[in-house]
Symmetry: C2
Subunit: 278 residues, 2 copies
């Protein structure tokens, strides 16, 4: 489990780093970023995972969200994995919502994706081991958040692993991939037509069967152009209510889908996680 | 003086916008960004100009610095002009430190640059008029800051127009362009070999003749790879001391030249300007 350092930068008294490793899960080099807060110089600190959206990389959150300021205040490590393998497969760049930068946090079962697009197992199994081995992370205290496709990732990982992730939040998440075009295309392409496999990766389907005891937090912009066709938070909220899953849902008037929205409410999300992880 | 809106995004209760206009000064379309804080809904607010560095655009500061949070707290408008015209001229992309994205905040006198590379007059004359006409800006309360090449811009504009810019700060500025490779190349290319013209755009030369009464603020990273050859803050600090120009100089241990450094100290810079502009 060796690590290749791509770059490290002092940031808010800590270190923003970019790394790569040869992933046995994905059968190729995978990238991720880690922010180590100043508190990590004195001992292990809780880890907050951030899963990014379509078109993003391991750099997007580090560059645009302004989260390091609050990670440094609370003493949280931030880990942001890339959104897909970067080796080239036939057809991986035909669309911006499938293939490159669109891994959807599943383990693909359909060729040619099945050999490499295994970001679910990479992020839940291989990468946490690597992080714990190379960084002062405290494995018993982890939270997960994400945006859009990564909001889907955060909710599904959080619902499937309630003991692993002690806190879960999302910005403008895809909450019901089985019922919207982005998710239907991705799941058909990566998982094939067996819909029983899809349900394991659909937050709205999962929450009915496996509600958590703690509140999830979701922030959604009202001016988000993907709101009506791709995000549909009302589907998740209804299922959560039915299942007894508490959700702190904040509809933000006038905000759109991008990182200007995320930077506006990132402090609240980090405080939410800090309260549960510290 | 018409304005073309490229995009607007809700951000920290205000609006982050991107705009273009046909500049009579530059003889081409020029771009800039404006952050309007929430206080601008109720009346005119002070304006803080941000001048960016080599390779940057009007988007870089808006995307990477995290300044909007503090502009919203203080009630400051942020204006960030692009770093050069974007029409294509022969040889404008042969180097990353001359031509495109490298206007150096001067009015070129050498062909072909002289017809378009007039960002000094664009930023000090035409653009302020446009801003005052289209946005709730208070022209009597303006400050200027910048980074690297834009730090050079901020210091030279601030020293030449002490009554216009009530507060001046810089991150990792080029302080003595006449004495370093970046500046020598740019000034020779844009201004020709007459060094008397160069001195008007050299902060170290200017401060001796025109010190301000108020303190300038400079933050500089100790791990900045450009520190020794291109930035040389000691040249400016010595000239400022000789001239009686107060400088609040902060050498930041371990920080490099990029936006992880800027985001780490942006709150302090906005507080510095707010104290003088509000």
């Amino acid at each position: 489990m060796t690590l290749r350092t791509l770059g490290e930068h002092a940031c808010h008294g800590g270190t923003q780093g970019f790394y790569a490793h040869e992933s046995r899960t994905c059968g190729t080099e995978m990238r991720f970023s880690v922010y180590r807060p100043p508190q990590a110089q004195a001992g292990r600190v809780p880890v907050l995972w951030y899963l990014a959206g379509l078109t993003c990389t391991e750099e997007t959150f580090a560059t645009k969200a302004g989260a390091q300021r609050f990670a440094a205040q609370h003493g949280l490590m931030l880990v942001a994995p890339d959104t897909s393998p970067r080796l080239r497969l036939p057809g991986d760049d035909l669309a911006w919502d499938f293939g490159l930068a669109a891994g959807f946090y599943v383990d693909a079962t359909v060729a040619p994706w099945a050999a490499h697009y295994r970001t679910y197992s990479w992020i839940t199994a291989e990468l946490p081991e690597l992080i714990a081995a190379h960084f002062p992370a405290e494995p018993a205290r982890q939270g997960v958040m994400g945006h859009s496709m990564g909001g889907h990732g955060a909710l599904t990982l959080g619902l499937r692993h309630p003991d692993r992730y002690l806190s879960v939040s999302a910005f403008a998440p895809i909450v019901a991939p089985m019922q919207v075009p982005w998710g239907q295309k991705a799941f058909a392409g990566y998982l094939g037509e067996d819909r029983s496999r899809w349900a394991e990766h659909d937050a709205t389907a999962l929450v009915v069967r496996r509600p958590r005891r703690d509140s999830l937090r979701i922030d959604q912009g009202s001016a988000d152009t993907f709101l009506e066709k791709q995000l549909k938070p009302e589907l998740f909220l209804a299922a959560a209510e039915q299942a007894g899953q508490p959700v702190e849902y904040h509809l933000r008037e006038g905000y759109d889908h991008g990182y200007y929205f995320i930077q506006s409410f990132i402090a609240e999300h980090l405080a939410f996680h800090a309260q549960r992880l510290l």
